[in-house]
Structures are given as C-alpha cells and as structure tokens.
C-alpha cells in the first residue's frame, strides 16, 4: 500500500491557510461558550425555596453563556456529607458544593481560596459575623463563600400565652416587633425560673440532650454564656475550670425541669413538642413554627422567636452557617466564582430569604433587617428578632473557640450534652470533667 508523503512545504502552507481561516472567521459565541458548571446546593425544606436559587443561577447562566447543572442534595441520611467525602476522595464532582458548618475547614486543603470573591462581597454587604469568620477562614484564606441558604440561628421560640400564664414573662414586651430588645431581665436565672414554672404548669421547655445539632447548639450557647470552653483557641485543654463547672451546675438544674426523655431527643423532637402544644419553649429556627402554621395554626399564632437569655459572661446564640465551596480540582473555577458573586448580591440574598419564608439568614451585617422578617406571621413580627437585627447577642457555635478541627469533633461527638447528662444522672463533677478531658485529648490526637 503506497503512502502519500507530506512535504515540509505542504505542511507549512496548510498550517498557514488553516490559521488564516480561523483568524478571519466571524466570532460566533455559542449558547454555552463559557463551558459547563455543576452545582450541588443544599436541598431546602421549604417548598419552593430551591426555585429561588435555580432562578438566580439560570439568569446568571443565560447572561454568561454557561451550561449549568444543579443538584439539590439533602442533609437527610448525611447525603450531603457523603457527597463531600466521596468527591474529596475522588477529586472529582461538582464545581460548587454546599458545605455545612465545619466542612470547609475539614476540606481546607482541597478548596479553592475565595479571598478575591469575599473582598468584594464584604465591601458591598458589610462584615460577616464572627462565627462565619471562624468557620470559613483559615490562615487568612477564605475557604468558601458564606451561603444564606440553610444558615440559621437556633434561638428560643416561645409560646406567648404559656410563658405569660405560667412564668409571668411577656416575650413580646422583651422583644417587641420593630424595636430593639428590652431584655436585660432575660437572663439564665430568669430562664431557669421560667423552665421550672412551665414544668409545674405541665408545659415544660422542649430542650433536648441528644447527640444531634439542635441539642448540642443549645448546650454550646449556654456554656459560652458562662465563659466555658473545653479547649481554647490555642488548642489548650480548659475542661477543669470554674466556668465549665458553673455551666454543668446550671444544666443539672435545668434538666430537672425538662421532659424525662430529653436525653433521647433528635432534631425533630423539639419541633413535635412545640407543634403538639405540649411545650412553652424550644430552641429552633422557624421551621417548627412553619410546620405549626400548617398543622396547628392555633399554636403558630402564639409563637415568638427571640433572643437567648444572657449568662454571666454574655448573651450568646448558636449560628449555624452554610457555605458554598469550590474544589481546587474544579474545571471551571472562574465561572464558579462568578456565580457565587451573583448568589451573594443583596437582591439575590433577599430573594432567597423571602422564598424560604424568612428561615435563611445572611451573615453580612447590612443584611439582617430585610423586610421579610418584619412581615412574616402570624403573629406579625414573630420573626423580627430572629436574624439578630440589633446585634443584641453574640453569634457563636458550640465548641468554639477551639481550633475548628478539634471543635468539629467535640461538636459531632456531642461531648457537651453527654457531660450534662452524666452530671445530672449523679456522676461526680470531677469524674465528668476527667472523662471530657480524656475525650478532648483523643480529639487532639486524631
């Protein structure tokens, strides 16, 4: 078989012709000229809330000529965590992935730095709250962009009528809609008396002591109100301190006024407690109230979301933040950063907050007074104080200020609630502290 040989002259001529043709051809921008982008958002529990994110992304994709695929990944069955772990191992997956609280730090080495995105967003929207900085930054590097979707404060949601009837506390007067809180009297001491009164009245506070986040978050905020931490920011053990002892003493008293099965509660238990009308207060974002609106309107119209009681060392409220992270192995980082900027514009954030019925909370200081929280009801104004509009409390997360990789384990292993339960069941204080110290030493080693 003869093979036609290509001479050097022919090759050069063909190359030159091809190049000329390509350069002089008219530039046609295709529908997806800027490539593809895959996004894994958190699957929102509010019907229709996902649509707001989809609309914002689609509008951006239309403008930027990017082909987008969006998956909504639920947190149920830890599917979102499994996806993060699997993609991190495989070095392949979504370009953007929603990551809850601790996960940007857990995957810090594999995440694309977002400083360039965050600088612009901070200029526009104001400073993010301290918890977001703690969870989202490492060594001066922004690991991910804070997401409003899924972010929440787990403050008290009280029954107006039952608190007034049994504890003599007018929560609407403490936290009036549209005005700053007048809650100087709302302290842990008052809170404990109210818990006792409501328990005697047959409507105990619904605060769990299980291993899920609602329970741990409440314990975290109360510990911080006493200035109690198991590990400090430098990684030193601080278990055997007076602050921790005070927090445990407080919890021991509180547990005696809680439902007897509180030690087995999960994140849905407190919701059921409120909606069934059996409790006067729970610690939860407005999801329980939203369910009550559907299933028990008479309960919902008596609900008021407000601030945490203050302890000797301040008033702390648990803030759980979601983030949008981009893998360092993503194939379209620039497009990812561009869409994250679009999702973090004030109008986009407001759209998503409205779609979630006020559940989602932006972390930026200029975005805590959106109309949605003033208008949601019934009763109108029930969510006014939910986003901490007057910076009346310090937003925090349980196990902070420990280095995040240690804090994540304290949080996940529910060390705080286990300590409280052990002490309340009669285990000696020093034995409980020794146990917790051993646990934390193990977390530091791993």
């Amino acid at each position: 078989m003869s093979r036609r040989k290509l001479s050097r002259r022919q090759f050069v001529a063909a190359t030159a012709l091809s190049s000329a043709a390509l350069i002089t051809a008219p530039y046609v921008r295709g529908a997806h000229a800027a490539g593809k982008l895959s996004i894994g958002f958190w699957d929102h529990w509010v019907p229709g809330a996902n649509k707001a994110s989809t609309d914002i992304v689609n509008a951006w994709a239309e403008k930027e000529k990017v082909e987008v695929q969006i998956d909504y990944i639920p947190s149920q069955g830890n599917k979102n965590l499994l996806t993060i772990a699997a993609e991190a191992q495989a070095k392949s997956g979504h370009d953007i992935l929603a990551m809850p609280t601790w996960w940007p730090h857990a995957q810090a080495e594999l995440l694309e730095p977002m400083n360039d995105v965050m600088e612009g967003l901070i200029k526009q929207n104001g400073e993010p709250n301290g918890t977001v900085k703690y969870l989202g930054q490492s060594k001066g590097k922004w690991l991910a962009v804070p997401a409003s979707v899924g972010s929440q404060i787990k403050g008290p949601c009280s029954r107006i009528d039952l608190m007034k009837q049994h504890a003599g506390i007018d929560v609407k007067a403490l936290y009036p809609a549209g005005a700053p809180p007048k809650a100087d009297s709302w302290t842990l001491e008052t809170f404990l008396k109210a818990a006792e009164a409501c328990q005697k009245g047959g409507v105990p506070f619904g605060i769990g002591l299980g291993e899920t986040s609602d329970n741990v978050d409440t314990a975290g905020a109360i510990f911080q109100s006493f200035g109690a931490a198991l590990v400090d920011e430098k990684g030193n053990l601080t278990v055997k301190t007076d602050a921790v002892r005070q927090a445990l003493e407080f919890y021991k008293k509180l547990i005696s006024f809680l439902p007897p099965d509180a030690g087995a509660w999960d994140d849905s238990s407190n919701n059921k407690w409120l909606v069934s009308g059996r409790g006067a207060l729970i610690m939860n974002p407005p999801s329980a109230w939203a369910v009550a609106k559907r299933d028990a309107p008479q309960v919902a119209e008596q609900c008021w979301t407000h601030g945490f009681p203050a302890g000797p060392k301040g008033r702390y409220a648990p803030y759980l933040s979601y983030f949008w992270g981009t893998w360092s192995f993503s194939k379209n980082k620039e497009a990812a950063k561009s869409v994250l900027r679009a999702l973090s514009q004030a109008d986009a954030i407001e759209k998503m907050c409205v779609a979630s019925g006020g559940y989602d909370l932006p972390c930026y200081e200029k975005l805590t007074t959106l109309k949605v929280w003033q208008e949601e009801g019934p009763p109108k104004g029930t969510l006014y104080h939910y986003p901490n509009p007057h910076n009346h409390q310090t937003l925090s997360i349980a196990a902070a200020p420990a280095p995040p990789k240690i804090a994540q384990q304290i949080y996940t292993q529910a060390t705080l609630t286990k300590m409280c339960l052990r002490y309340s069941k009669g285990e000696a204080m020093e034995k409980v502290l020794a146990w917790a110290e051993g646990e934390c030493e193990g977390f530091m080693r791993s």
Binding site: D71, P74, Q76, K79, A86, A90, G93, N271, S276, V291
Partner: protein
C-alpha cells in the same frame, strides 16, 4: 441355691393411651403461643405504619393516641400515588431491580454450575473466594468505587455517577456472590447420576445445565432470584452516594430525601411511602416463600 425372682414386668407406671396425641396437642398449643407472640412483635411496626399513614398531618402533629385514627384519610396515599416524583422513584426501583436480577442470574447460574460440577484446579478455593467477597461491607467499598467511576468519567467521558444505571454495575457486587454461593449448595445436592446420565446421552456442559440442572434446581434459582430482588429493592447506601438528581433516585433514597427536610418530617407520607415500597417484596415472598425456604436450606443435609 437361692432362686432370685426377676420381675420381668415393665415399669409399674400404668400405660397412658393417647399420650402421643396429648403431647402433640401441647406442642401445638405452645407453637401457637410463641407464633402469636412473634407475630405481635414483628407486626407491630407495620401496623403502626399503617395507622400513621391513615392520619392527616395535623392529627400526627397533635400527638394524640398513636394507636388510633380519629379522622382516617387517604390523603397520603393519594398524594404519593399522584405524585410524578414518587412514581418515578418506584419506576427506577423496578427497572433497576429487574435488570439486576437478570444480570445476577445470568452470571450466578453458570458460575455456580461451574464451581459445583466442573471440577477444575482451584474451584473449591474460588468458591470460597466468591463468598468471601460478599462479606466485604459496602461501607468500605463506596468511596473506592466512587473514585473509580470518576476516573472512568474523566478518561472516557462516560458519566456513571448520578445516573440510575450505575446501580446496575454496583448491585451485582452484592447479589452475585451470595446467589452463586446458595446455588452452589443447591447444585451440589443434585444427584451425580443425573449429569452422568446426561453425559452418557451425549449432552454438552451447556445442555446439561439448561436441560437438567436448571429445571431440577428451579427452587434454588427462585430463592436466589428473590434474594437478588430484595437486595436491589432495599439497597440504600449505594444509591444514596451515587445518585443525586431527583429523577435518578430509587425508592428508599427518594422517600428519605424528599419527605424529610432538615428537621421537618412528613411522617404520614413517609409511612405511606415505606408501606408502598414494602409491597412488591412482600407480594413476591407471599407467593414464592416455599421455593425460597427450599432453596436456602438445600444442601444442608446429605442423602
């Protein structure tokens, strides 16, 4: 010499006629007693699910008597059975299960036949090896498999992750070893004379398998089929990890991920979905239980 009188009579106890039937009656009573206890114990959860599925969301939230329905409603059944999403999950589960059962049988039957009858070097070791692979839990395998499929996607452009058909590759890793193992036992219990007769008649290995073994071992094959179907229908971890988009989900994951959102549980529909999801395996077991038991216990006794 003294004579010893030996009393050759039996025990002085008076013979009790009808004792066997009396013993049988007692055995029967005890059997029924324990069966009732077990039935109550194991049927409590499904009964609770059924009761809850007939309640409205408001009645469930009111936390009244959990064992009674005050205002029965079929709204949960109607909501699910008219939901395209739920029907999609059902369809995906059905398609995946049917394909997996077929693939499993096509691999397991010849494999079991080869390992039990075609004596070749290392066949016994290989048979044990097949079963040992079944003992590796999927919790250990899902990340390496994910990585493998990601690499395949990068190299070939064939996307397997987040596609329902990835489950057709994954599930046989669970079903094939076990089905092969139980069929090895079943094939081994078939008398040697049968295949010897077939060989004398000039049958090839394939003909021996298709004309002799498969008809004779039909209960075992049915048992393996039921097992493969049950595993495919109820598998949770693999679809949870490998499928994400709603239109790719199978029933167990679909129910969990669409009816539970954060701390909001749609209990009525969850119970309804679980009951509807349990129906196909339940029906199959009800009709083929005898085959299943026969297949599972095959080879347990000699002779």
């Amino acid at each position: 010499m003294s004579t010893v009188t030996i009393d050759k009579a039996g025990p002085t106890r008076k013979a009790k006629y009808g004792s066997i039937s009396r013993d049988r009656a007692w055995a029967l009573r005890w059997s029924y007693f324990f069966l009732v206890i077990f039935a109550i114990f194991f049927l409590t959860p499904p009964v609770y699910m059924l009761i809850t599925s007939l309640k409205s969301s408001a009645e469930i939230s009111a936390a009244t008597n959990p064992w009674w329905v005050f205002h029965p409603t079929l709204e949960n059944y109607i909501a699910l059975l008219t939901s395209n999403q739920f029907l999609r999950f059902f369809w995906n589960s059905a398609i995946v299960s049917i394909f997996v059962v077929t693939i499993t049988m096509l691999i397991s039957v010849p494999a079991a036949f080869a390992l039990s009858r075609m004596r070749f070097w290392g066949s016994a070791t290989l048979a044990t090896g097949v079963f040992l692979t079944y003992l590796i839990p999927e919790t250990l395998l899902f990340i390496p498999l994910f990585k493998m499929f990601a690499v395949i996607g990068d190299w070939t452009g064939i996307q397997l992750i987040n596609r329902w058909y990835v489950l057709l590759i994954l599930y046989p890793t669970l079903t094939v070893p076990f089905c092969t193992w139980i069929m090895i036992g079943y094939f081994a219990s078939i008398p040697k004379e049968l295949d010897e007769a077939a060989v004398i008649d000039g049958a090839s290995w394939i003909q021996t398998l298709t004309r002799i073994f498969i008809p004779v071992a039909f209960p075992g094959i049915i048992a393996a089929t039921i097992f493969a179907f049950t595993v495919s229908w109820a598998q949770f971890l693999y679809p949870l990890v490998f499928t994400t988009s709603t239109d790719q989900l199978v029933m167990p994951v679909g129910i969990i991920t669409t009816l539970i959102k954060g701390d909001v549980f749609n209990w009525g529909q969850i119970m309804t979905g679980a009951l509807l999801g349990a129906a196909p395996p339940l029906i199959i077991y009800a009709f083929l239980m005898d085959y299943y038991i026969a297949g599972l216990t095959a080879g347990a006794t000699k002779g």
